[in-house]
Symmetry: C2
Subunit: 675 residues, 2 copies
C-alpha cells in the first residue's frame, strides 16, 4: 500500500523546493548539473514520499529499500531529498556543494554522505550495482525469511539516465536481472531526450521498451511529470514479483526553466543568474532566502518522518520476535553482520593446500582454498563470468544461484565481466554475502571501471583472475595478460596478490577474506607450478606483509636480492642456486603484493631488500613498476611486448623464462658491474 | 545474385572437410576449440561459397566483402576456409596450428594470416569492429561513388557467438549500427545454446530477436544446418538496404560428433582420439590421411576461385574507367591510400597554436590543431562519445556522420566508449579514414580492451583523452583520473603523450598522425595551463623523442633534473627558479611520452637525464613508473590516492601541486642528501 499522496498544491511546492535547492547549490558552487534534478524532481518526490521504505533515523536499517541515483551527476536531487527527509544534511552542507571536504561532493560518494548507498557517476555503474543489491536482497530473503515469518522484503529503486542505458554494462546487468527474475528491482528511466552533444536522437534510436522486454523485464511508459502516472507505474512495478521493472518516464531536462528547459545547456553548467531569476519568476519562487524550504513542505516531510519511523519500529518489533523464534538464523545473521572469521583461518586455508610436493596451478590451489573458506565463512558466495571450470571458483558444497533459487552460493554471471564487477559491488555493499567473482586476467580490462569503484568505495570484494601471464600458451596474445597485473597495482586501495604456490595462495586468500575496507585481486596461474623450497616453511606467513625473504642469503645483508612473484618465483630460486655456484650469495624474496610491502615500516623493507644489495626482479609481465625497488640499475626481467600463440614451454624458451635464461641474464648483469 | 549452390552431396562433403580439417588441427595441437567450427561449418560454407565477394589472389582488393570471425576461438573454421579457398594457407600451416610462429595462431591475428581482416578472441570485439568496418564502407561509398559510377558496394559479414551477444560492447555497437542504418552489415549468430559452464540457459534468457529489433535491426531466425534456409536469409539480409541484419542460426556445437555434439566439453578442448574415431565413422570420413581434402571438394573451390577472380577483374576494369572519369576522386583515393601528409605538417600544426602567451587548456589547443590537421589530411575523421563540447574534437568545416549521411567527418558515437574504441579499430583497418575518438581520460577504462587490440594489431588510431587529472575539480574522484595515464603507458605498442602547452600539443598530434604501426593516446588537460618558458622554442620538437630538455641547467651536466609532464611541467619550471635562488642548478625536462623516450639511443637519454644527476619527477597521477628514470632515491611527486570533489585550485593546495609545495618538497629531498 502506497502512503497517501500529498495534496496537489503541496506536491507542486515540494517539487519546486527540490528544484530550487538544486539551483541554489549549483549557483553557489558555480558548477554542477541542474537539469537532471529539475527534470526528475517529480518522479523522485513521488517515489520518496509515497513508496520508498526508509528511516533517516536509522540509515542502516537492514530491511530499508535501497535508492540508487545511477545518474550520479544529478547529485543535488539526492542531496535535496536527504536534506528534506531528515538525514541531517544541513543547509550549510548544501551551500558547500562540490567544495573541499563537504558532505555534498560533485557525485554521490558512499561513506561521505548518510543515505548515499553507492558511489555513482561513471555511467551504468549505479544501474548494475543496483542489480547486485537486488540479488543480495533476494539472497537475504532466502537465507532469513521463513514461511509466515518474512523478515526481509525490501526493494531496490534506481533512477537512470540516457547514459546509463546506452553504456554496455546496462545490457549485461539488465540481461542478468531479467534472467534471475529480480522482481524487487525498479528502474525509473529519466528519458529527457537530451545528452551533452544535443538531442539524444543525434546518436540513439533504440526502442528502449522493446529492448527491456527482450530481457524479460516488465516495462511501462509514463509522463514523468504526472504524479498520478508515476505513482500508478511504481505500484504496478511493486506488484510485479518475477520481473524487474523499467519505468520509462518521459521528462524535460531543467523542467520549469523558461530559457533552458529541453536544452543540453542545462545539463552540465549552472543556469546563470538571469535564467535563475526567470525560473524563480516562472515558478513563483522567492528571490531570498537561498535554500528556502516553505513551512508546509517542512511540515510535510517531518510528518512523513514520523510515519517512516513507525514503519521501521514495527519491523524492529517483528525482527526481535523473529530472533527469538529462529536463534539459528539470528546467529547466522550476527556472524554475517560481524564478518566473523575463525581464529585459525590461516591454519584452515593452509591445511587445504597441504603440500604433497607435486606441482599444481595456483588456480587449482585456490579452488581447494575456496572450499575450506566456504566451510569457515557461511556468508562467502562467489562465481564466475562463465569460466568456473577454468577458474575453479565453484563452491562444491552449495547449489547455484538461479531464477527463483537464491539460497545457493555459486553465481553464474554469464559472459558479462562488467556486470559481474558491478554486481559484486552491490552484493558487498548490501552485506548479506561476502562476494567474489572470477574470470581470466586479460578480461579484467572488461570490468576495470567497477573494480575502480570498489576501491574508491572501500568495500570488500574479491576479484579472482586466473590464466595470469603469457603462459596461457596456445590461446595467444589476445588471451595472454602482459600489462594487466601492473595496471591493477596502479588502482589506489586495490590489493593485488600473485601467489607462487599452495601456501602462498592460502595466505593470499586469507588477506582477501580479512580485508574490510577495500577490494582484493588474486592473480593465479593456469599452469602447474613447483612448490617453493622455503628455508622456513613458516616464512610464507610473510605474505601478509606483501613481500618476505623466502630463501635467505648465507651472509647478511644479502649482496644480491632476487625478487620473484607467482609463476616466476621458482625461477628466482633456481637462479639463486646457480649464482651460488658462481660465487654470488643471493637471497630470494617473494613479493606477491607490492602494495602491502610498500605499507611496511622502513626497517622491515630494509630487512627484505637491503639498500646495499643489487636487486633483480623476475615477473612475466610489464616490469615498469619494479624499478621503485630495484632502482635505475636493477635488472627487471619481464615482458614489454605482447605474447604469442604457442605451447607454454616453447614460450618460456623464446621469451627467456627458464632457469638457464634467467641465470645467465642475472650473471651478465652482475658481471657488467653497472650500478 | 548469389552464386549457384553446390549439389547437396558435394556441399555435405565440403562441410565435412571443414569439420575434419578442424578436428585434425586441434588433435595435432592437443589444444583448441573444435565445437564451434563444426557447428558453424554449414553456414560458413554457404556464405563463402555463394555470397562472400573476395579474391584470394588479391586479399587487399578494396571492394571485397569483409568477413569477421567474431567468435575468434573458432579460428580453425576460418583457417579451413582460407586453406580451401586458396589464400595459400598450406596443410603444413594447418598442422602447425597454435605453434610458435605458425600462420595459424590460437585466435585469428591480423597481419599473421592472409585473409584475416581483424584480430578476434576477446568476445564482442569482432562484432563491434565489424560495425566500424561497415561504417567505413558507407563512408567510402559517400566519398568515391558517383551516380551511375558506384565503385564501392561491399558488405561486412560476421559470425558471432553467445559470448559476443552477451558482452556489453555488443549492445553499444548494435545500437550504434541500428541508429546509423548500416544495411551493409550482416551478423550470423551461431546460436548453439552452449557456453563453457554448460547450457546457455544457465545464465541467459534474452529474446535476442526482440532485442535486435529494438535496435532497429532486420532479424531472421533459421536452422543453421539447413543450407537453403541460411542462403535465403543471407539473400534477404543483402536485400535489406537500411537495417543491419541479424541472422539467428540455431546450430549444434560439435555438429556430427556422436558423443560430444551439444556438449560444453566440445567447446575448448580436443575431442580426443576415441571421439574422433567415432566422428569419422559417423560422417564416413577416412582415418587417413590427416587434413584430407576430397578431390571433388578441391575442384569445387578451384572452380570458385576462377569465378571470384573474374568478379574482381570486372571490378578492376570498372575501377580503371572510374579513375579516368574522376581524376579528382582518384587523387583523393591515392592520397588516402598513401596516408599522404604535407611536408610541413609540424609547421602547420604549430601555427595553429601560435602562442599568444595566454594560458589555455591543452584540450583547447588540441581543438585548434584538429582543424589544421583536418585541412591538411582530407582523410582525417573523428568524434566523441557524447562529449565533443568538452573534448573539443569536432571538425568544424565538415558535417556530421549520421543515418544516411556518410560524407561527413565528425562522428557522434553516443555514450558508448567501448563501441567507439572498436569502431575506431574497424575504421582504421578499412582505411577510408584515419580515425580518432575522444572521451574523458577516466573513461578510458571503459574502452581499454579495444585500445589493447589496436595496439596488438599495430593499426593507427588516435584516442583523445581530456580532463586528465584530479584537476577535473568539482566532479570529484569518480571523474578524476589518477592511475589512467600510467596504466595506458603499460599497454605495449601504445604511444601515450601528455603535452604541456600549445606547441607540445601540436607536436603530439603530429606524432599521432605520422604513426602507422600502432595507436596513440593524447592526454589533455581540462584546465588552462601557462605557456612553458622554453629557453629555445625549437626545443619543443624534441617531443617526438618523448622527452627533451626544455630549460637547461647553467652547468653541464645538470646536478639536478626536474622531470615534468602536461599540467605539471610549469611547476617544474617554477621550482627550478626557486632552486636556483637556493643555489641548486637544475634542468627542466619535459617528458610527454615515456615510451618514445625509452626508445631513444642511450647517449640521447644520458644527455637528457645524466646518470650523475639527482632526478625528481612531477606528474599529477600514479608516480610508480617514474622510478625507472629517477631511481630508488629519486623524488616522485604524484598522486597515490583517489582525488576529491573541490575546485581545482583548492585541490592543488591540498595535494601539493603548487610551485611553493613542489619547491619545498624538492628542497627537502635535496637537503636530505638521500642517495
Amino acid at each position: 500500500m502506497p502512503r497517501p499522496a500529498a495534496p496537489p498544491d503541496l506536491a507542486r511546492l515540494a517539487v519546486n523546493t527540490i528544484k530550487f535547492l538544486t539551483i541554489d547549490a549549483v549557483e553557489a558552487a558555480r558548477s554542477g548539473h541542474p537539469g537532471m534534478p529539475m527534470g526528475a524532481a517529480d518522479m523522485a518526490f513521488v517515489l520518496w514520499s509515497r513508496f520508498l521504505r526508509f528511516d533517516p533515523q536509522a540509515p542502516d536499517w537492514p530491511d530499508r529499500d535501497r535508492f540508487v541515483l545511477s545518474a550520479g551527476h544529478g547529485s543535488m536531487l539526492l542531496y535535496s531529498l536527504l536534506h528534506l527527509s531528515g538525514y541531517g544534511l544541513t543547509t550549510e552542507d548544501l551551500s558547500r556543494f562540490r567544495q573541499w571536504q563537504s558532505r555534498t561532493p560533485g557525485h554521490p560518494e558512499r561513506g561521505i554522505t548518510p543515505g548515499v548507498e553507492t558511489t555513482t557517476g561513471p555511467l551504468g555503474q549505479g544501474f548494475a550495482t543496483g542489480v547486485g543489491m537486488a540479488l543480495a536482497a533476494r539472497m537475504a530473503e532466502a537465507r532469513f525469511n521463513r514461511p509466515g515469518d518474512e523478515i526481509f522484503g525490501h526493494r531496490v529503486f534506481a533512477i537512470a539516465s540516457d547514459g546509463d542505458v546506452q553504456e554496455g554494462i546496462s545490457h549485461e546487468a539488465a540481461s542478468l536481472a531479467g534472467h534471475l527474475k529480480l522482481g524487487n528491482l525498479v528502474i525509473l528511466y529519466d528519458d529527457n531526450r537530451i545528452t551533452i552533444e544535443g538531442k539524444t536522437a543525434l546518436a540513439f534510436s533504440d526502442d528502449t521498451a522493446r529492448r527491456f522486454q527482450a530481457y524479460g523485464w516488465h516495462v511501462q511508459a509514463v509522463d514523468g511529470h504526472d504524479h498520478g502516472q508515476v505513482a500508478g507505474a511504481i505500484e504496478a512495478a511493486i506488484a510485479e514479483a518475477d520481473r524487474p521493472s523499467m519505468i520509462i518516464a518521459r521528462t524535460h531536462i531543467a523542467h520549469g526553466s523558461p530559457g533552458k528547459q529541453d536544452s543540453e545547456k542545462a545539463h552540465g553548467e549552472p543556469l546563470g543568474p538571469d535564467e535563475v531569476r526567470a525560473t524563480r519568476a516562472a515558478l513563483g519562487w522567492p528571490a531570498e532566502p537561498r535554500f528556502h524550504v516553505p513551512d508546509d513542505v517542512r511540515r510535510f516531510w517531518s510528518g512523513l518522518a514520523d510515519t517512516l519511523r513507525r514503519e521501521r519500529l514495527d519491523w524492529e518489533a517483528r525482527y526481535g520476535a523473529w530472533r527469538g523464534r529462529h536463534p539459528d538464523l539470528a546467529a547466522l545473521w550476527d556472524r554475517t553482520a560481524a564478518r566473523e572469521l575463525p581464529d585459525d583461518l590461516e591454519g584452515r586455508l593452509l591445511a587445504a593446500v597441504a603440500d604433497d610436493g607435486k606441482p599444481a596451478a595456483t588456480r587449482a590451489h585456490s579452488g581447494r582454498v575456496i572450499q575450506a573458506a566456504a566451510e569457515a565463512l557461511p556468508f562467502l558466495a562467489g562465481g564466475s563470468a562463465d569460466l568456473d571450470p577454468s577458474t575453479k571458483t565453484k563452491i562444491a558444497s552449495a547449489p547455484s544461484v538461479g531464477p527463483g533459487a537464491f539460497a545457493g552460493r555459486t553465481f553464474h554471471f554469464g559472459i558479462r565481466e562488467h556486470a559481474m564487477g558491478a554486481a559484486l559491488n552491490g552484493l558487498s555493499i548490501h552485506g548479506t554475502v561476502l562476494p567474489y567473482g572470477s574470470t581470466f586476467l586479460v578480461f579484467a580490462d572488461y570490468m576495470r571501471p567497477s573494480i575502480r569503484l570498489a576501491a574508491l568505495m572501500e568495500i570488500p570484494a574479491v576479484f579472482v583472475f586466473t590464466h595470469d601471464s603469457l603462459f596461457v600458451g596456445e590461446d595467444g596474445p589476445t588471451h595472454q595478460p602482459v600489462e594487466q597485473v601492473a595496471s591493477l597495482r596502479l588502482i589506489p586501495n586495490l590489493v593485488v596478490l600473485r601467489p607462487a604456490d599452495g601456501p602462498e595462495t592460502a595466505m593470499a586468500w586469507s588477506v582477501a577474506l580479512r580485508r574490510r575496507h577495500g577490494p582484493t585481486a588474486l592473480i593465479l596461474s593456469r599452469q602447474n607450478l613447483p612448490p617453493i623450497p622455503r628455508t622456513d616453511p613458516e616464512s610464507v606467513r610473510g605474505t601478509v606483509r606483501g613481500g618476505y625473504v623466502a630463501i635467505p642469503s648465507k651472509g647478511k645483508p644479502a649482496a644480491v636480492v632476487l625478487i620473484g612473484t607467482g609463476s616466476e618465483l621458482h625461477l628466482a630460486a633456481a637462479a639463486r642456486e646457480a649464482l651460488g655456484r658462481a660465487g654470488h650469495d643471493a637471497a630470494v624474496v617473494s613479493m606477491p603484493s607490492i602494495e602491502l610491502f610498500a605499507e611496511q615500516p622502513a626497517e622491515y623493507r630494509e630487512s627484505v631488500i637491503p639498500r646495499s644489495a643489487r636487486v633483480a626482479a623476475i615477473e612475466a609481465g610489464r616490469p615498469d613498476l619494479w624499478h621503485r625497488w630495484i632502482g635505475r640499475d636493477g635488472l627487471a626481467i619481464g615482458m614489454e611486448r605482447f605474447g604469442a600463440s604457442a605451447p607454454a614451454p616453447d614460450l618460456a624458451e623464446r621469451f627467456g623464462f627458464t632457469a638457464e635464461a634467467v641465470t645467465s641474464r642475472v650473471l651478465g648483469w652482475l658481471g657488467s658491474g653497472a650500478r
